[in-house]
Point group: C7
Chain length 94, copies 7
């Protein structure tokens, strides 16, 4: 298991089959990175200036939209994840 620190969260990216309008499936390098994912782990939150943790707004299982290119990709037990800060999450879907 990956337990993110502070205001970080672990995202499982949702891969979508991408087609151009003419129906041709684009190879990976020609696609934009996905902006949508599922939260699989949440940190304890950022430490406020008084030392207390600010409770995160997202929860495990949430589907989220996040800034393109945000975060760091990691591979853990053969799966790819994205670790990013909650502040890079724009909105929860649902």
């Amino acid at each position: 298991m990956l337990k993110p620190l502070g205001d970080r969260i672990v995202i499982e990216q949702i891969e979508q089959e991408e087609k151009t309008k003419s129906g041709i499936v684009l190879p990976d390098s020609a696609q934009e990175k996905p902006q949508e994912g599922k939260v699989v782990a949440v940190g304890n939150g950022r430490a406020a200036d008084n030392g207390e943790r600010i409770a995160p707004e997202v929860s495990e299982g949430n589907m989220v939209i996040f800034s393109k290119f945000a975060g760091t990709e990691v591979t853990y037990e053969g799966n790819d994840y994205l670790i990013l800060r909650e502040s890079d999450v724009l909105a929860v879907i649902g």
Copy 2:
């Protein structure tokens, strides 16, 4: 539904038919992006340094003027929205 995080809000942009003085309708790429929109979702507010959330000043349904080029465009269920920070909103109209 899109639920924005922190001090973010979701805006539905108001498209206006743009004409030049001679009456020619300009194609999209020649227009400036709109600066006016309707708030369709509001986050919980920014976490202050003591950990409490600062209540947003805008509410769902407000018509607002916001900084050009602010925020991130997202497409959700076929509709286009703009997710921006409340601090990019200049004023509420009404």
Copy 3:
């Protein structure tokens, strides 16, 4: 009505007929932008770090001097306004 957010205020700019020493009226593009205006709307103030709003020092109707080029010009119901932050106001005249 325009209701500015946070520490923003709405200014109605005072246009002055500008003459050079020889008495020639300069066309707009050769003039400096005005630095003087009338406050027509005031926001709730900036949120301090403890979450409370800091009361603005200017009031509606104040004549103010403000930094050149500060703020954003908006047109509302056919009138031109300038939305700027209270910190761009140098002094109240009166």
Copy 4:
């Protein structure tokens, strides 16, 4: 009257006749701007993070030394003033 905002103060600059060692009076453009002035108006002070105003250290009538090139020159009722932040004042003379 000019009432400066926040931690700003209004300074009346002390012009001094400048001579080179050979006794030639320099025209304005060849002189350095004065660094000395008289405080003619003082703002309410900067708002601290808890929202309270920090009392200014200078008072009306103080003679002060301030950083060259600091502040903004304004003309009011035919007189020239300099509006600057109290933090640009180095020391009070007297």
Copy 5:
């Protein structure tokens, strides 16, 4: 013993034999630096604005993933360590 200060921690890097897909072991200079390590010492935590220390989230013995190129390499009693800030740790593994 190395006792890190503030929000710093000491990491023992986990070296892994790196092979390309064809099975060739790469010499050091062609590999990326490891991103995984074991925490061997933890500081007292960052001093919050009220002067109290914020308790670190990692503990001695934790396996962690950290940002590439973060921190400073030191050699102590013949062993190589990495001293980095807890904020450079992305997640604890386990």
Copy 6:
């Protein structure tokens, strides 16, 4: 008298006759600026975020070492002084 503001202090620089190893006295322009001086006036201290003044650590009469090139040189009643921030003082001697 010069009364510095906030966390500023007034320093009287200690000029030292500088000789090269061969005993030649260097003219001013070839010397480094002095780093040592005597404190002749101390401000009320920096205003903390809660609005209170932080008591300065140096006192009038202290001999101090300060960062080269820090501060602003002023001439007052024919004497040269340096006004700098207490944070530019590295250490008190004695």
Copy 7:
């Protein structure tokens, strides 16, 4: 005696005879600056935002590892010291 201010400390650098693998002693200019030293004086600590001093973590006599190139070299009574901020100290040895 040198009494450092705020969060500064005075370090006596530990010079080590440096040899290349072939046994040649390198002249000073070809060596890296030492990263290890002994704490000989400690300031009162940084003033927190509430005005109180944050107690330093290092004590006189501590052997420390610090960032290369950090701090300012001073000569006092014929000895060379390094004055640096406690935040430039990576770890205490021992």
